[in-house]
């Protein structure tokens, strides 16, 4: 007995010692935002310089690491970190094409958002707290992206819930508190469902490792009946659907827009919503496997649910006068493209869905940055207050327009590429109804975005703005202006250069190819 104990201890140590460079890189990527975050917590408010330096250096460092990893993966290196967590279950970080896509997206956007947040939060209280949790939030996201098994995924997924909460309630108002509670109600309940599903799956399969084509097929013993697996699938997708804001689990997202603009950007584009969608992709591809899921008959209902979400949320968006609320509903609808693309069984649609993970992020973050600028500079929160704002803040509105048009799907912007692939894929998979959905939703998108653009550019300005603060010579602070421009250009770029190597589309094709065995 004792010997056994000792043996166990030794093998743990060995595990830790034998970690090579390829094993440490994922940890470095985590650490590059974790450590700055932890340090920042203990910084006094006044130490602005050090904090900024920490933030930016962390973000840049992460980008470098991610670049190295991308190069490595491209050259066929596999990056994997394994640490013992629970008896027979390990903490696994693993880098494959899909995770890399998400990691790259979030670390690029994190850098941009950090710059934006630094500008946005100048001389506002509790910045150390804010940036601390901000960094942890990204750490959790990267962890979600690189999780190598469902347990690790769950771990970071829950962590993400927890560290996002302080950001949502950051303003400390009563509204913020309530929004935070709503957020927790949804996400923690979702996490519980996810956990049950995970444990159940584990008791059936005895493993949780993500594998191409899914592990359930091999490991699910013949005795386990399909109904059980369906139930598990429902549990998992429901748990993930909360963050992915699938109707009817989307309620928290519109409320959460009380948070400061950078946080909204984080929620809608970088971290939370994405984690949910990403999780659904993982579950369908690497847990169940697309074919197995398909002949379980769970993909079609999911696709339908996604379609419903798309239409419903777009309709809701139509009737919002509050800009951020409208954007929030637009997110709800847009994020479901990803689910839709994956649930439409077929390689091309899959490409559309996966690539939308990136495209939606770029476009939506642009829009939220712009909304933040309007609120910060002119105190504009409602669309009805935006008359002629483009003349006051042209650059902001240029970025906004690019993002909005992209959302509508105007070629050659990013959104168009996604929708194009989705449409073709749906045809190829013989599910024409999806095309109808796409067209419809595009019309709706146009219906709720174009009026904004029109008001901003062509309506006569009322002359006075709700609450204007002088922001120097430029239309607003550079730190606030640059990020949206950058992301807007990126959104344009990924659309124009979609077919270039290393473009998101390229990666998406790689991933879908792997999944569909080509």
């Amino acid at each position: 007995m004792a010997a056994g104990v000792v043996g166990n201890r030794r093998h743990v140590f060995l595990r830790i010692r034998k970690m090579s460079a390829s094993a440490t890189l994922p940890l470095l990527i985590l650490g590059s935002s974790l450590l700055p975050g932890l340090v920042i917590f203990f910084l006094p408010e006044s130490k602005v310089r050090i904090r900024t330096a920490l933030n930016l250096s962390g973000a840049l460092l992460k980008l470098v690491f991610v670049g190295v990893m991308a190069w490595g993966v491209f050259n066929g290196t596999t990056y994997e970190t394994r640490l013992p967590l629970i008896p027979d279950l390990e903490f696994v970080l693993h880098a494959d094409a899909l995770s890399l896509l998400f990691v790259t997206l979030s670390s690029v956007l994190w850098l941009v958002t950090t710059v934006y947040a630094i500008g946005y939060l100048e001389e506002s209280p509790h910045r150390s707290r804010f940036f601390g949790f901000f960094s942890l939030c990204v750490t959790a996201t990267v962890g979600v992206a690189m999780a190598g098994n469902l347990l690790t995924f769950l771990l970071f997924y829950e962590l993400l819930t927890l560290v996002t909460y302080p950001l949502i309630v950051h303003r400390g108002t009563e509204v913020a508190r309530l929004a935070g509670l709503t957020y927790l109600r949804y996400t923690i309940a979702g996490g519980a469902l996810l956990m049950i599903g995970t444990v159940w799956l584990y008791t059936l399969c005895g493993t949780l490792e993500f594998t191409y084509g899914g592990f359930v097929r091999e490991f699910a013993s013949a005795s386990t009946n399909r109904e059980t697996l369906v139930v598990i699938f429902v549990l998992l997708t429901a748990g993930l659907g909360v963050k992915a804001a699938l109707v009817p689990l989307h309620g928290w997202l519109p409320q959460a827009m009380v948070a400061p603009a950078p946080v909204s950007a984080l929620l809608h584009a970088v971290a939370v919503v994405k984690a949910g969608a990403f999780g659904i992709v993982r579950v369908i591809y690497d847990v169940f496997g697309i074919e197995f899921a398909a002949n379980l008959g769970v993909t079609l209902p999911l696709a339908i649910l996604a379609a419903v979400t798309i239409v419903y949320a777009s309709v809701r968006a139509l009737f919002q006068d509050d800009l951020k609320r409208r954007l929030a509903f637009s997110t709800v609808s847009q994020i479901s493209y990803i689910t839709l693309g994956v649930a439409t069984v077929g390689p091309i649609a899959a490409i559309g869905g996966i690539v939308h993970l990136v495209h939606q992020g770029l476009m939506k973050i642009t829009l939220f940055f712009c909304a933040g600028n309007l609120a910060e500079t002119l105190g504009i929160h409602k669309i009805s207050e935006m008359d002629g704002v483009a003349h006051r803040m042209p650059w902001t509105m240029v970025a906004f327009t690019l993002g909005a048009l992209g959302m509508v799907g105007v070629p050659p912007l990013a959104g168009f590429v996604s929708k194009w692939y989705l449409g073709i894929g749906a045809m190829a998979a013989g599910q024409e109804w999806i095309v109808a959905i796409l067209v419809g939703s595009s019309v709706l998108n146009a219906a709720y975005f174009l009026p904004i653009i029109y008001t901003a550019w062509f309506k006569e300005s009322k002359g006075t703005w709700p609450a204007e603060q002088p922001r120097g010579r430029a239309e607003t602070r550079w730190t606030l202006l640059l990020p949206p421009l950058v992301t807007a250009l990126l959104a344009l770029g990924v659309g124009l250069l979609a077919s270039a190597p290393f473009s998101p589309l390229d990666w998406a094709q790689l991933i879908a190819g792997r999944e569909y065995g080509r």
Partner: protein, 483 residues
Amino acid sequence: MEVVITTFPWEVVLILAPLFGALSCFLWPKSARYLALSTVFVSVLSVVALAIRLITTGSYRHAIGGWRAPLGIELLADGLSLLMLGVTAVVGLAITVYSTGYFPNRQLLRFWPLWLLLLAALNALFLSGDLFNLYVALELTGLAAVALTALSGGRAALISAMRYLFATLLGSMSYLLGVVLIYHSFGSLDIMILAQRVVQSPVVWSAMGLMSAGLALKTALFPLHFWLPPAHASAPAPVSAALSALVVKASFYVLLRLWLEVFPPGQTAMLGELFGALGVAAIFWGGLQALRAGQLKLLIAYSTVMQVGYFFLAFPLAMAAAWCGVLYLLLSHALAKAAMFLAAGNIIYFSGHDRIVDFDRIANQLPMTLAAFALAGVSIMGLPPSGGFVAKWLMVEASLKSGQWWWAFALIIGSLAAAAYVFKVVGHAFTQTTVRGQTNAVPALMEWTALALALTSILLGLVASWPLAWLEIGGMFSCESAR
């Protein structure tokens, strides 16, 4: 050196040191603080040494007075007792450090000997392999706990202490009668010997009933929990921490020992189901009351009622994964709950009250305290990465594996309720209005202690495989081969 560590009877040190400390604190109150600190320090070291000895040589027994059982009393050192002793040492150290700052001087003088006696009683209890000796240890624990509860001398404290006293006395009486029946039908008090001798019989039925009822009362299993919330809410914060983290566990530990070793398996099944049902009731009731509580310490106390419910879910499952899960829960809950009470103590020390609705700006005034509370809360609601999560995982796994999904369901509901009441507190702490009433600064040491405990309870979620491996020493069950 190696030899000394692996042969010296550290378990004896664990019992004698606090007893000696108590005496010296009583004799020389002037230097009581240092005596207490050094005593606790010694016991921490001996626990470490004991762990090393157990890991290298496996479990062993110490025949007191050189008289082997059944004539004499034997101390029993294995993974299970090691776990409990470890918790006691860590939490004990934290509470001791914390108390040096918390109490007004006059109370502090009375606190030390009582506190050290409590520690001694707990250590003795976790090491004892003899049913009657366990009774004496239980009485010592109970009386010390009650005396500490009444320490502040307030009206509420006295009244709840009295209730607590009757509860604990009744519990020990019922336990003792059970011991009497066991002794007179099997002619021994030693657990190991009884493990071989005990067979199903009507006497065993009533003995089991009496002992289980008495211990369940001491552990505050719903509906026998009535005494716990007032006592834990009205005691001084460090005492509440000790009560929730250690004292409640003590009686549960005895019950677990009896269950795993003495009670005949054939006879326990039905009782196990009953325990499970009561556990579920406790989870729901405790969660509900915690949600309704307006005072922080009361909330935490009801959270303990709820967690006790979790403990009893292991009995109907009765499989290795469940035992490991519940023991890991014991471990992480002890740390987390102690951290919570200490954090509450800081808040009371700071603002003179613990009304949850008036917690505005605590997040800025006492960031570390709030962090301690929140982190402990993460473990309490069983979210990763925390010891609570590992425990919950193992228990849910056990219940799904054995096809009894409803226990898992109760577990999940419980953790949702836990999340609700934890964030009820945290949410208020973030709201920003001006602080009402005058406040006095909290010593940094007190804040750090709470935070350290909370961090440990989180850390438990990352290093689970070691404690679980140590738990197997003595081979009562194996967490590795749980599946």
